[in-house]
Symmetry: none
Subunit: 264 residues, 2 copies
DNA sequence: TCAGGTGCAC
DNA sequence: GTGCACCTGA
């Protein structure tokens, strides 16, 4: 028996909004130790998405056996549009290779209960290596700031070079109409910590990434006020949104190598 | 002489917004006993629309003879877009088979007066039987709630089964991605009566309807905080919006018969 | 291509 | 709180 009761339905709604453009059919995993998890390459097999909602995120959490559920995210997203932001969401599934999942939305205010039965799919499991390294450089900054920068720069060019130095983080783009550099300097706000830009660095690092993917990642902005961007030479970057007390959403993206940059 | 002065012009604007997608050319009737009335089948001849604005709705009401005016709703809607929400609207027409109608919008705040003359049309009168029965089951609920449910469910499937039992009202849909049930339980709010869901039932009734039409009816949501849905076996349902102290807008829709349900 | 919803600015 | 503009889904 799987039963997950999430009092803030809006959380699941935001999560789906943030991944539905990147992924189509994915296996959600559930276990009593890890909670609800998802790891998947994006549809074009370039980026990797990793989501965890720890058991503690849920008002009620029961997962008798480790479970994998193949879910069409377009369909799930459509169902979740039927939930109000204030609804309590409960997911239920049978223990062993269920072929459907039940979603229940409770709106306490209007005494309204909606329940949905969604068909599950068979999705071939991917075996993913998620690197668990410490990074040479990390920047923590307001998530809206990061989203704004990625959006703005994508109007200038396709590829952004991100440089983390001890002074701050620099985003550079060049395109047909010219070049752009945006620098966010290390700056800690005591009054509003969530507005700080914090550099944590062993080595300065500069890597280039396709903005197209970063702009997909920033769909997760509503999940957290801050974003944590980590980079090391020749390793995929990580863009992480911590979900307050509930887990995280992480996106991994390989840097462009020199040759890529030239052909682009 | 016909002269109707409506101090809340916004009312007429809302009424037109709510029917213009369902109807195209209709005869408006006016009489000193009934006020301003409209009965018409929708363009596809499936649903029936019935509107009444009682004489008392109007700040000034004069209707010397019973009158029928053929109106192109697209045109009337376009004219009413020229009226502000706070405008006072006056309609005038000649007594006997007028071929035009005059509309005047007075904006007291800006001392602005607009007047329009619109051509009337000859529209063949339909002879409509509007059943005046008592219904086996009626649910009164917040109109926005009803609108939200119809909209949400139409993302899952085309046909909704509505069941009224003494516990509450259940909306059920099945579609390619799964099934959905939304239950609103009988629940009377003393503090906010307009948020109550009230079941009034002699017999439990379950009928199926095409969501497409319900979603047209809910365009009338701005007319009232609450909606009254009435059903009896083998009779058209009624979806009624009472216009506070001024009349009503009612929509009638025949249920799908079993065969319809199967072919769908 | 159009309409509806959402987020942002005033 | 309202209106505009952008963006997304049908």
């Amino acid at each position: 028996m799987l039963e997950l009761r999430l009092s803030q339905g809006v959380l699941l709604k935001k999560i789906l909004e943030s991944v539905k453009d990147l992924l189509s059919n994915v296996n959600f995993g559930c276990s009593s130790s890890e909670g609800l998890c998802l790891q998947s390459m994006d549809s074009s097999h370039v980026a990797l998405v990793s989501l965890q909602l720890i058991p503690h995120s849920f008002e009620f959490f029961r997962c008798d056996r480790n479970l994998s559920m193949g879910i069409n995210l377009t369909h799930l997203s459509r169902l979740l549009k039927c939930a109000g932001n204030d609804d309590v969401i409960t997911m239920k599934a049978d223990d062993r290779s269920p072929d459907t999942i039940n979603l229940m939305f409770e709106n306490p205010k209007h005494d309204r209960i909606s329940d949905f039965e969604m068909k599950l799919m068979d999705i071939e499991a991917e075996h993913l290596q998620i690197p668990d390294t410490s990074y040479e450089a990390t920047v923590t900054m307001p998530s809206q700031e990061f989203a704004r920068i990625c959006k703005d720069l994508s109007t200038i060019g396709d590829t952004v070079a991100i440089s983390i130095t001890k002074e701050g983080v620099k985003f550079s783009v060049s395109g047909a109409i010219g070049n752009a550099n945006i620098i966010c300097r290390h700056n800690i706000s005591v009054v509003k910590p969530e507005e700080s830009t914090i550099i944590d660095m062993k080595e300065p690092v500069t890597l280039s990434f396709p903005l197209r993917y970063l702009n997909s990642f920033t769909k997760a902005t509503p999940l957290s006020n801050i974003v944590i961007v980590s980079m090391s030479h020749d390793l995929p970057m990580v863009v992480e949104y911590k979900i307050s007390g509930a887990g995280h959403m992480r996106f991994y993206l390989a840097p462009k190598v020199e040759d890529d940059a030239m052909e682009a």
